[in-house]
């Protein structure tokens, strides 16, 4: 598992949009995107121009789960609180719940996953995104893990 993780991390260069401190905030109209992680192996990609957080499972999660064959997602419009079970990812061997990493309203779900659940294995943190949540408690983002903290969490 650790070797898989290492490969995955190497294959995924630090993303340009990964802002850590306001000090690096460019004085422009560029979209600011923050990527954080939950201890439940989800990533949250927050876009400050839309106020939407895109929720995904992490690459580490998909490699542990194996072939994903079914994804159940919440209905758009659902209000969720951080930690609520909002759906599930099913592989042949197991069902894994998806927990809302942040509170808010489900604005959009990735409809492609109903016909192509394998996208979760191929592109877990991009094309295989799960849902977009309009944040009601933006401060929750700050409590989520940074990339380093998440890496440490996976290795522990």
């Amino acid at each position: 598992m650790q070797s898989i993780l290492r490969t995955a991390v190497l294959a995924r260069p630090a993303r340009a949009f990964c802002m850590r401190t306001p000090a690096f905030r460019p004085v422009s109209f560029r979209t600011l995107v923050t990527k954080r992680y939950s201890a439940d192996h989800e990533s949250v990609i927050f876009d400050d121009t839309t106020g939407l957080a895109t929720v995904t499972i992490t690459n580490y999660a998909q490699s542990s789960l194996g072939d994903v064959v079914f994804v159940e997602l919440p209905s758009p419009g659902t209000e969720v609180a951080q930690g609520d079970a909002i759906g599930a990812v099913e592989s042949v061997k197991a069902a894994s719940d998806i927990y809302a990493p942040v509170s808010g309203t489900i604005e959009e779900i990735n409809e492609i996953l109903s016909s192509e659940p394998g996208l979760l294995n191929k592109s877990p943190e991009e094309k295989g995104w799960l849902c977009k949540i309009k944040l009601s408690e933006p401060a929750e983002l700050e409590q989520l893990l940074t990339e380093e903290a998440y890496k440490a969490h996976c290795e522990s």
């Binding site: 194996g66 042949v92 061997k93």
Partner: protein, 410 residues
């Protein structure tokens, strides 16, 4: 989330990922956390082949190998041939002049009429007719039997055999022809399974495997080894279970795992057996299940149902007379797969049973499950519902097995 649901959330499953998410419940039931895991004779071979090793029934066993996903591994066995290490299972010999009668006391099988070098699925029953374990019994002669039982039931089975042997050997009959049990400790057991199994094994032996029908066994010379080969398995495919002396197992495993054979782990083993409608002890049957409700009445030989003097016979006869209160059924479920513990709901929205095993079937592309429902609701085509994540999903009673078996019957 209901309390009964086996929650394998990302939260827990990934923390337990080394223990294999889907098999966690089995590992928890069978494993004793405080004891170090045992290894089969080919542990190093698995590791060298990139196996992801997980605790199962007290052993460290391969869940999957390298990058081969469970679906690909499963499909390979259905279409070609796979090799499974089942050396964690308990192999034993029972010998003695009254061995047939002894085993007919412990099981409801008709072993006296079983031809030599034939195997039968059988059951160890307790006094209440509950299933202590399921087992494959192979008769070599009326005074010699080879028995394979589940690793997860090792302690219970061995204690049961020991106690019953003592009782038997103290009777008049037992004194005239005592029965001895020999556990084949550290012997290997490999299962070569799939439509390509016979042609692969045939290339390694002069023995004509066309003569070895499903349910038969023989000592077969394989590249200089003389191995006990039983035709059958746990996948619904044609195949062989090969018993190997301890110091030869790794060499035989190497010999049996060349192209097109793929090493296959516990993950695919579970989905293959479920499609084949076979029970997993601890999930689908246990000491609270009787053979009739489990759909295993066929295991009780007709000649023994009326008059057989086996442990649990009275209880079994009572159920046969009254009819079982519940039945094991197959289900095809729409939408989400139902897992062990999911509630099965009846037409009046009342709970009528529970799922005992369930997966999205790689071969059928549908969600399949086994479970128990109240008698009367067990008929083919009955429409029920299964609760998954607080939502009801349509479930239709479907005959088992889900797939037609592909056994070699000549």
């Amino acid at each position: 989330m209901t309390a009964s649901r086996i929650t394998l959330g990302i939260r827990t499953s990934l923390r337990l990922s080394r223990a294999g998410t889907g098999l966690r419940t089995c590992a928890r039931r069978y494993g004793t956390a405080s004891e170090p895991l045992k290894r089969t004779g080919i542990y190093d071979f698995h590791v060298a082949n990139g196996a992801k090793m997980v605790p199962f029934a007290g052993y460290s066993m391969p869940l999957a190998y390298g990058d081969v996903g469970q679906v690909a591994s499963h499909n390979h066995v259905r279409k070609s041939v796979g090799l499974f290490d089942v050396g964690h299972m308990v192999q034993s010999n029972f010998r003695g002049a009254t061995a047939t009668e002894f085993l007919e006391w412990l099981t409801p099988s008709s072993l006296s009429t079983l031809p030599a070098y034939s195997s039968t699925l059988s059951l160890l029953l307790n006094e209440q007719g509950g299933i202590i374990d399921d087992t494959i019994i192979t008769k070599h002669a009326s005074d010699a039997f080879y028995v394979v039982t589940n690793a997860g039931r090792r302690e219970q089975d061995l204690a049961w055999f020991k106690q019953k042997l003592q009782e038997w050997n103290a009777t008049e009959k037992g004194k005239t022809g005592p029965v001895e049990m020999e556990i084949l400790e550290n012997w290997g057991l490999l299962a070569l399974q799939g439509p390509g199994a016979a042609s692969y094994l045939q290339s390694l032996t002069s023995y004509n495997l066309r003569d070895l029908l499903f349910g038969k066994s023989a000592f077969v010379p394989v590249e200089g080894f003389n191995l006990h080969v039983a035709r059958g398995g746990y996948t619904g495919e044609d195949g062989f279970e090969i018993s190997i002396p301890p110091n030869q197992t790794e060499e035989v495993a190497r010999m049996l795992s060349k192209n097109p054979v793929q090493l296959t782990g516990l993950g695919a083993r579970d989905s293959l057996r479920l499609e084949a409608g076979m029970c997993l002890y601890g999930n689908d049957i246990d000491e609270s299940t009787n053979p009739i409700e489990a759909g295993l009445t066929w295991v009780i030989s007709k000649d023994r149902r009326e008059s057989g003097n086996f442990i649990g016979a009275d209880a079994v006869r009572q159920v046969l007379k009254d009819g079982p209160s519940r039945r094991r059924v197959g289900l095809i479920i729409e939408g989400a797969p139902a897992r062990q513990g999911a509630k099965i709901m009846g037409p009046g929205n009342e709970q009528v049973g529970s799922v005992t095993s369930g997966i999205p079937s790689p071969t059928l592309g549908q969600n399949i499950a086994m479970g128990y429902v109240e008698s009367g609701l067990h008929k083919k085509g009955t429409e029920l519902e299964v609760e998954v994540r607080n939502k009801l999903r349509k479930a239709v009673v479907t005959p088992l097995p889900f797939l037609k078996p592909n056994y070699w019957r000549g």
